[in-house]
Amino acid sequence: MTGPLLKVENLRIALQGDGVTFNAVENVSFEIGRGEAFGLVGESGCGKSITALSVMGLLRRPLSLGGGRIVLDGEEIQNASAAEMRRLRGKRVAMIFQEPMTALNPLSPVGRQIAEMFVLHQGANWRDAMDRAEEALRQVRVPSPERRIRDYPHQLSGGMRQRVMIAIALACGPDLLIADEPTTALDVTVQAEIIDLMAELCAAKGTAILMISHDLGLVANMCRRVAVMYAGRIIESQVADAIFAAPSHPYTRGLIDSLPRLGERAKRGRQRLTEISGVVPSIQAYPAGCRFNPRCHAVTEICRTTAPEATSLPADGVVRCHHHG
């Protein structure tokens, strides 16, 4: 089949407040091709995680799908029943989370939690499933998997737990792996290993990745294309290399310029870091027009009144800014 693996169109996620409804996410559209690694970047509260949850059909009150389409492999799933979604989750779309300790069942040995995937989704018997779980642990490079299979999550280190999560997520060979800040809780050297492992396994199996992170550098390293979210909207989406070479939106440029980069000081001496003024707005107080306007250095009158439409950039890029470039 041709066409993208996942297509999200004009997604709107409603947040039910006290008698008011906010749009926690609006107008979010993106596509992920088969086997492609796609990154969704933004600060806490920008709506990136709930966008991922909506693809998994896991939005719960006070959040709900307010509109838009989610198309997986040509099939609309935004209105799928709970039973249908349960069949999709784990089998076609799998997800790993930031804190593996809270995502794993503390009362069940990790081997059993992996084996469960084969039993539930592929009708395997437990004995075969446990053998395959051991193989899955070996694939994510957990040392001595034949012993580890009987360990409980608390007996493993953070990095090992995240490997178990990856083993569970990839057990049934899903088409799409959603990784929500998979390495934020880990040390940097372990993070590098986990990222390499994920990229390698997904490439080998042809699994597409939706990588969610606040770390633009991490995402750009791993993903072919990157979308940047701010206050519930995608403000820029580009090929990863292009976003660093020529960021179009003032927010993206600000983020890239504001981070001290390794090697920069040796080259140019210590420069004052470029600041983005102000703070991230809260959902109750999203500004009118472009939501970045109170913090933007290039703000003009139109930015305060009118939300910018999407403008096309080369290579399928998109930017939402009245003064992009």
Partner: protein, 326 residues
């Protein structure tokens, strides 16, 4: 050379963990023989992964845990296992900025009270002077006078960190320990706080110990850098030496682990990423603690602990192969 403001001499901090009933009591060597200086006005970057002992080191310097062995000299005071510090004098010399500005401020105290209390405790009795110093300090960290009567929950994360910094500086300390001061903040706010810390350092002549796992931040702010692994310093030197000519494989692994969208690290730093994870401090590997993860491991490394010795003046590395250029 200026007299050191802080000097650690073979500092060790050990904890007893476990119980006689469940497997016996073990000794956890959180800090294991650290020798280190910080000069007035200098910024020392302290780098390492969780569990390497950097926070215990910070607590020891603050006088909050006592050394098991070795000595700490700070601002004319000496702390050792049998000589606890004079807390009041310590507070006027060393202060700390914490990682989480949500957890480290008292939610029931206004900004004014948070900043005025230390002054009262340290004998600034005059009301007008206290008020003037509070307002002056708030201005220095970029808070407006009308913020003084607000409570922490009324502020954003970045502003709360400004309050945390103001509280640390109100007694005009000489040394400030910044423990991951920006890692809990929104990415777009971090530059504001880093710039502020650097400005205050120049303005007030402060020395910093900057604890961070973000090497980009450490390179940006530090004059010298020390890298810790399982309680020991494995490399220390000027920031340029550490980042451009790292001699310990662990330092190289840390640098190689940074996702670098500009593909620069690969060109400047050779050496493989580290394998596996940091070992338990309860049961560290013999010899060089890094040996199970090291791409350069040789038999010698499992037997003999490498000493922290000079590669060049001021640049020390604890590796048997410190002179092997990759």
């Amino acid at each position: 050379m200026a007299e050191a403001l802080l000097s650690l001499d073979d500092l060790a901090v050990q904890f007893k963990v476990g119980s006689m009933l469940a497997g016996g009591i073990k000794t956890l060597k959180a800090v294991d023989g650290v020798t280190l200086d910080v000069k007035p006005g200098e910024c020392l970057g302290l780098v390492g992964e969780s569990g390497c002992g950097k926070s215990t080191l910070a607590l020891a310097i603050m006088g909050l845990v006592l050394p098991t062995r070795g000595r700490i000299h700070v601002g004319g005071q000496q702390i050792s296992g049998d000589k606890p510090p004079d807390r009041m004098a310590m507070a006027r010399t060393v202060q700390m900025v914490f990682q989480d500005p949500y957890a480290s401020l008292n939610p029931r105290q206004t900004v004014r009270r948070t900043l005025a209390d230390p002054l009262h405790l340290h004998g600034v009795g005059d009301k007008a002077e206290v008020e003037a110093r509070v307002i002056d300090m708030m201005a220095k960290v970029g808070l407006r006078p009308e913020h003084a009567d607000r409570y922490p929950h009324e502020f954003s994360g970045g502003q709360r960190q400004r309050i945390g910094i103001a509280r640390a500086l109100i007694l005009k300390p000489k040394l400030v320990i910044c423990d991951e001061p920006v890692s809990a903040l929104d990415v777009s706010i971090r530059a504001q706080i880093i710039n502020l810390l650097l400005e205050l350092k120049d303005e007030m002549g402060l020395a910093y110990i900057m604890i961070s796992h973000d090497l980009g931040v450490v390179e940006h702010v530090s004059d010298r850098v020390a890298v810790m692994y399982l309680g020991r310093i494995v490399e220390q030197g000027g920031w340029q030496e550490i980042f451009e000519n790292p001699r310990h494989p662990y330092t190289r692994a840390l640098i190689a682990a940074i996702p670098d969208p500009f593909h620069r690290a690969a060109a400047t730093v050779a050496g493989a990423k580290a394998k596996g994870e940091i070992a338990s401090a309860l049961n560290p590997p013999p010899g060089c603690h890094f040996n199970p993860r090291c791409p350069m491991k040789a038999d010698l490394c499992t037997v003999e602990t490498p000493l922290l010795e000079a590669v060049s003046p001021g640049h020390l590395a604890a590796c048997h192969f410190r002179d092997r250029v990759i």
